[in-house]
Symmetry: C2
Amino acid sequence: MTSVALNQYLKRLQAHSVLADDEQQAILTLPGETSTVVAHRELVRPGDQVDRAILVCHGLLGRYDLMRDGSRQITALHVPGDLCDLHSVVAPTTGWGINALEDAGIYTIPHNAIRQLVTVYPNLAMVFWRDATLDASILAKWVANIGRKSALARIAHLLCEIGLRLEAAGLGHHKNFALSLTQEQIGDMVGLTPVHENRTIKALREQRLVTIVHGRVDVLDWGQLTLIADFVPTYLLPYRQHHLPDATADRRVIHWRNGA
Amino acid sequence: MTSVALNQYLKRLQAHSVLADDEQQAILTLPGETSTVVAHRELVRPGDQVDRAILVCHGLLGRYDLMRDGSRQITALHVPGDLCDLHSVVAPTTGWGINALEDAGIYTIPHNAIRQLVTVYPNLAMVFWRDATLDASILAKWVANIGRKSALARIAHLLCEIGLRLEAAGLGHHKNFALSLTQEQIGDMVGLTPVHENRTIKALREQRLVTIVHGRVDVLDWGQLTLIADFVPTYLLPYRQHHLPDATADRRVIHWRNGA
DNA sequence: CGGGTGATTGATACCCATCAATAGTGGTGG
DNA sequence: CCACCACTATTGATGGGTATCAATCACCCG
């Protein structure tokens, strides 16, 4: 079990960084505990002090922020292979919460284990830092998405992103993938109410761009969808070529660039 | 000149991390170039490949994202002492732009110098990573701010944040500080048009919460302002106490907690 | 003095939130 | 097996918040 999750994570790291053999071994032997959680279960509550990071094995997790009036904004989505709590290693006091958006399996890794790893293999600190940077890049894109786009474009953009991320995680094709989120959860990611979320999804369906039924997303017109979403996948690209100054530009970018 | 900027940055790092003497010296001797830029000048254009990081000496810089229709969203604000491009060290291909929001002075540091530093002093990788985490924490808060709050609350929240960040940088008091941003720029940070931005600032003034005149912000009622902003400064707090498991909890938190 | 940038205000339109009601779905327990 | 309940999806009606278009004003600078 555990090795499956860690293999997944290693694969993810190798998408953007080059790891030496012993470093790979170190990643694969990270200690932790496997567990399963049901949808809506809170793994971290806002304000908690945490001492372990959460690796997503299957299912989706969400990081969220609560307003005083009770409304919720999901600030980050974590797909299988994401070490979603990585930043907590360097900043253990959270201002956010993490919960399961659907039934999920996780592998929790003590911070101490990660800190030790970094001490023994300094290069891994760079790797983790780079991994966290992808997270930040997505956050910045979400700010722009929510701040400057219509409801239709926001949802379209989110679906494009999720499609590519799930495909990169080996879970389906970016034009056709399983996604059992509720409309309310999707709305919480793009800053919309459930009712308007519903109407906008209906509009996407009527414009023959995407259908979302039975927990499955089916993109009917990827080109048009990326167009109205103003979706440019650059912000998701792995940075492998930049690992070192002397990068041997080995770009394994297959369907990441406007997968027409 | 240069030592002033680096001193400022070192001070900022020490707000959340403990650095050994030689590490401090290494930071202070980072090579780079000092220069001044006029307001609106673009330092990095979206899509550029960069090989140096930008340390803000004075003035404000902004990271932004452009939409296809020409509208702009500022995704991050950088105050003096911020090494605003830090993530570019591990991810040199940008999807964003950086420009001067007002006249500014900067100190540009080659990535190679930072990479070398990290190789010699592995602990600094953790420090940089932690520094970048604060950035990400702010980004997440902005997502929530823009996604789930009214125009009034959004601007109020932004002003609270800027006040505390400027004060932490030694530039005024959180209730009274210089800020020569245009209303349009502020609007670009919170996802509002210039016209509505203007009306909302007027409302803040009429409710005797804040005035913004002649490039100076004057908070009339900090308590009320943080209330309507739903502002909880946790996400800005330095994490110094968490540097190591055996943290000697020396919290230098003065007016960070609801500075009434 | 002229020109450009930013601030301000008014009028109007539209997007999205809110309130409300109904229907579908799955799970639970009698 | 059915009744019941909670949750989700869907649709309608209405109101409000923000965008848009347009005009005027204030200010700085050459």
